[in-house]
Symmetry: D2
C-alpha cells in the first residue's frame, strides 16, 4: 500500500472522523484539519496544523455534511476555532477534487469560477440508500424506548414506501412486528405485500389508522392531519422521519395527547461511525466512476 | 360475557396493572388493591378500598413477581401504604386459588398449612419463553443506544443457546446483523447453524472472540474471564443477560476499558405492558389445564 | 352483493379459469366462453354457449395472455373449437371495456377503429411485481429438483436486481442460502447489500463466478458468455429467467457440460391459480383507477 | 495435510460417496469399497479391489445408513456384487472403530463379541437436526410441485413442533407463507408464536383445520383421522413426514379425494450430497468427542 493519493478531511463531526479513518483503511494518505485534540484518529492519519498544510499536497478534499451551517465558515463543531469558507476556498487548487455534503448555489459558483471539480456526495443514490439503515435503526430505537410493549407482536404502520420505509419494513418484520404499509402508488402496495406486509392505499388511511400502535411516517407533506389523527383510536406513538416540516400536524397531535416525535438527521446521531463510513464509500464510488470515465 | 369468575389483583408494578386489564379483557371480573390513584385501570375494573373487600368474593388471587421483596409485606411499589403478608394470608380462603411469582419455601408452607391451591407462574415454561422476547428487545435497545455503528452489518456474538439466545439470534438476524453463537453442546451449535448463524464451540471462545463488536452473554457463570476478555481486541460492547452474578468478570472488564453492562429484569423495565400480559396468559394457561383435569 | 356488473371471460388456460372464479368472488356476474366441459368453474359462473350470449350484456371482456398466439384466433387451449378474432371483434360493443394480455398494434387499431376502451393488463407495473413471486418460486423449484445439495447453506448468485431478482433474493435468503447479487448500477448493489446479500459489480463477474453453485440470471442479454462460463469452476447449475433469447450462451454451456435451463413463463406453469388471481387483481385495479377518474 | 488416519467407506448410496469425498476433504486418507465404476470419487480417494484391502490399514470404517436392509449383506445399492455382513465382520480388527447407521441388536452383539468400538451416527442429536434441513426442503419441493398456487401467501399448517417442524416453520415463513403450528405442549405453542407463527392446541385441530391449504404432518401417530379430515373443507394438500405408519388415515383421505403424500427418507432422495456431508460431520464430531475424552 503506497498511499500515493492524499485526502484532506476538513471539519465536520464524528462522521468526518470515521470517514477519515475509513479512507485511511482504504489505502489513502489522510490529513485532517479543524478537529480539536480530543478527536481520535487512526495511527497514520496526519493532523495538519494549518489550512495551508492541510490543502498543500492533497488530491482530494472532503468537506462535511452540511459543508457549512451559516454560509460563512466550514461546519466544524469539533474545532475550537473557526475556518472561513473564503479562507478555505483561497487554498483549493485547480487540480484538486472537492467532495462536500449539501452543496448549494453559492458553493457551486465559487467552485466553477475557479474551475474546480466538485461533487455533492449527499446527492448520490447509494448515499441515500445506505443512510436508510441508520435512520431505520434510529427510528426503531425510539420505538423501543417509548413503547411499554414489545415491537414483536405489535401493529406498526409505515406511511410511504421509499428507501427508509423499505428498510424499516424489513427490519420491523425481522423483529416480529406486524407491519402494514400505506402508500399512494399501486406498485408500492404490490411491493410491500410481496414482502409480506399488509398494504392499503393512502386514500384509505382514515379507515385503517385505528388498528395501529406505532406509526412511522416517511411522506414529506402533512399526511397525518387533524382529521386523520382524530381516527387514531389506539393513541399510537408517531415517529415522523420526513424532513422539515414533516408529515404530522404536531399541534393537533399535542392537543389530542398523542405522542409525536419528529426524528431528524438520525444517521449522524445514532450511528456516526456507520454514517462516516457511508461518506467514505460514496466518495470512493464517485472517484471510481470518474476515473473509469477518464 | 358474564364475568362470573373474579380475579383479585393485589400489589405489584406496571406489569400487575396490565395483567389486571388483560384479565378483564379476557372476561373476568377484576378487583385491584394496593395501587395508588395514579394507576390507571380499564373501565370496569373495581378498586377495592380494603383487603377484606379485595379478597371477599374472589375466585383467584394474583400476586406480583416477586410476591414480596422483604419477606414481610406484599411487593407493592405503587401503593402508598404497606400490606403485610400476614394480613393478606388471614384473608385468603380455602376455595381460592393463589397465583404468585417466585414462590419460596415460607410461602409454600403458609399456603399448605391452610390447604390453599397456589401456583408460581414464574416457573412455567411458557412464561420463560414469552419473557425472552422483551428481554431480547431490551438487550437490542441497549446495543442501539451504546453503539456508534448500526447493528445491521455488525458482528454480534451470542454466548449460550437457551431461550433468550434463540430469540436474540432470530431478531439480530432480522435486523441484518452478522450473528454467531457459541455454546457447549454440539446440538445447540447444529441448531444455531441451521438457522443461519455462525456457530463454534464455547471451548474455542478465546480463538474467536476478537472478531466481534458486540457480545451478548446468556450463560449464568463466569465465561468472560479476564483471560478471555484480554483476547477481545475489538473492544466489544458486552451485554450480560445472565442472572446474578452474571457471566462477566466486570472488574477485569473495567480495567481493560471494556464497556460491560449487566442488564437484569428487562421485561418489567422495557415492556411492562407485554410483561403484564404474559402474566395474564400464563395464569389463564394454568387455570385451563387444572380445570381440564378436574 | 347484486352482481350488477358483468365480466365475460373468453378463452385462455387455467389462469383464465381462476381469473373468472376470482372475479366472481369479487362480486361480479361472470360469463365464460371457449372452455370445454372439463374446465371447472365456481357455482354461479355462467357458461355461455355462443359468442353472442357471452358478449351480449357484458360490461367487461377479459381476454387471455397472450390474447392470441397466431394473430387469427383467440388463444383458447381449453376450447375444442376455435374462435376467430374477427368473429369476436364483431360482437364487441362500444360501451364495453376489453382487457387483454400482450396487446399488439393490430389489436390496438382494431379497437381504436371501433372506439372501444381496452387495456393491456400485462403492461401494468403491479402485474409484473406480483408475477415475480410465482416466477421466483418456479426458479427455486427447479433448483430444488436439480441440485443434489440443499439450498440452505448453498452459494447462490443472482444476476440483475429487477423485480424477479429482488423476490428471489428475499426467498433464497429466507431458505438460508448464501445469496450474492451482481448488477451494473451501484444503487442496485447498495440495495442488495442493505438487505443482507453480498453484492458485486457485474463488471467483476468473471472474478467472482467461481464461488457459486447456482446462478439465477434475470438480465435480458448475453451476460454468461463463453469466456465467463469458462471461469465457473464449480460447474454451477444455471437457471435463466430472462425472456428470449435469454442471457446465457447455451451452446457454450453445453460444450462445457454445464447444466443451463431456460425457464420461461413460469407463473402460468407452476402456479396457474395465483397467476389467474393476479390477472383479476390487476384488472380490478385498472377499473378502480378509471372509475375514480370518471 | 498428512492423511495419517485412514477411513474405509464400505457400501451405501450417493450419500456414502459424498461422505467419502467430504472425509477426504477433511484431511483423512480414504479408501472405498463396494461401489461400481460409475461412482465418481474425488481424486486421491482409493478404490479398494477387495474387502481385505479395504479394511487392512483403516483406522475407521464407515458403513451406510441403514448398514443393511436384509440383515445378511451390507446395504450396497451401487455395488454389482454383494458383500455379506459375516465376511465384513471377519475383516474388522480390534483397534478399528466402526460407524454405521441404524445399528440393531444383532450388530451390537457382533461388535461387542469382538470388543470393537462402534457408534450409530444416526442416533446423534446433531445428525437429526441437520437432516431436518433436507427433509424440510424436500417437503417444500413437493408442495411447490403439487400446488397450483404459490406458497407465498398460502396458508400452511404444521402439525408438531419437533426438529423438522421448526425448520419447516422457518423456511415457509421465509418464503412468505402464512404459517400456523399445532402441537400439544403449551411451551411448543409459545415457541412457535414467538417466532411469528400462529399457534393453536392440537386439541383444537378440528376447529381450525378448515383454514389451511397445505398441511405438513410431523406427528408420528394417526392425528389426521377420518373425523378430522372431514372438517378440512379446503381440500388441503397433505404432506406426511412422520415415519411409518405416518399420521394420516390415508384410506379415508383417498375416499374424500384428498391428496395425501407420505414422504419418507427425503434427505437421501432430495439432497444426497448434503446428507453425505452430514454423515461425515457427525462422524467427525464423534471422533472429536471420544479423542478428547481419551
Amino acid at each position: 500500500m503506497n498511499r500515493n493519493k492524499c485526502f484532506s478531511v476538513i471539519g465536520g463531526d464524528a462522521r468526518s472522523i470515521e470517514a477519515a479513518n475509513a479512507l485511511f483503511n482504504s489505502g489513502y494518505a489522510v490529513k485532517v484539519f479543524a478537529f480539536n485534540d480530543k478527536c481520535s484518529f487512526k495511527q497514520g492519519v496526519i493532523r495538519s496544523k494549518t489550512i495551508q498544510d492541510a490543502t498543500s499536497d492533497a488530491d482530494y478534499l472532503l468537506l462535511p455534511i452540511p459543508y457549512s451551517t451559516n454560509g460563512e465558515s466550514v461546519n466544524a463543531p469539533l474545532y475550537d476555532n473557526s475556518l472561513l469558507l473564503s479562507t478555505l476556498f483561497q487554498h483549493i487548487k485547480g487540480f484538486q477534487t472537492v467532495f462536500a455534503g449539501r452543496i448549494d448555489e453559492s458553493f457551486h459558483s465559487d467552485m466553477n469560477t475557479k474551475n474546480i471539480s466538485h461533487y455533492d456526495y449527499a446527492k448520490r443514490e447509494e448515499f441515500a440508500i445506505y443512510n436508510a439503515i441508520p435512520t431505520a435503526e434510529g427510528a426503531i430505537e425510539i420505538a423501543f424506548r417509548e413503547c411499554p410493549f414489545t415491537l414483536n407482536g405489535s401493529r406498526c404502520l409505515i406511511l410511504g414506501h421509499g428507501r427508509i420505509a423499505k428498510i424499516l419494513r424489513h427490519m420491523l418484520t425481522g423483529l416480529g412486528a406486524g407491519v402494514a404499509v400505506s402508500a399512494r402508488k399501486i406498485s408500492d402496495l404490490a411491493w410491500a405485500s410481496s414482502f409480506g406486509a399488509d398494504a392499503f392505499s393512502i386514500y384509505d388511511l382514515s379507515k385503517h389508522i385505528e388498528n395501529y400502535q406505532i406509526i412511522f411516517n416517511t411522506i414529506p407533506y402533512c399526511i397525518l392531519t387533524k382529521d386523520i389523527l382524530a381516527k387514531a383510536k389506539q393513541k399510537p406513538l408517531i415517529i415522523d422521519l420526513a424532513s422539515r416540516p414533516g408529515g404530522v400536524d404536531f399541534e393537533a397531535a399535542g392537543q389530542m395527547n398523542l405522542k409525536a416525535i419528529h426524528a431528524l438527521s438520525l444517521p449522524g446521531k445514532v450511528a456516526p461511525d456507520t454514517a462516516g463510513r457511508i461518506i467514505c464509500d460514496t466518495v470512493l464510488n464517485i472517484i471510481s466512476e470518474t476515473e473509469v470515465k477518464e
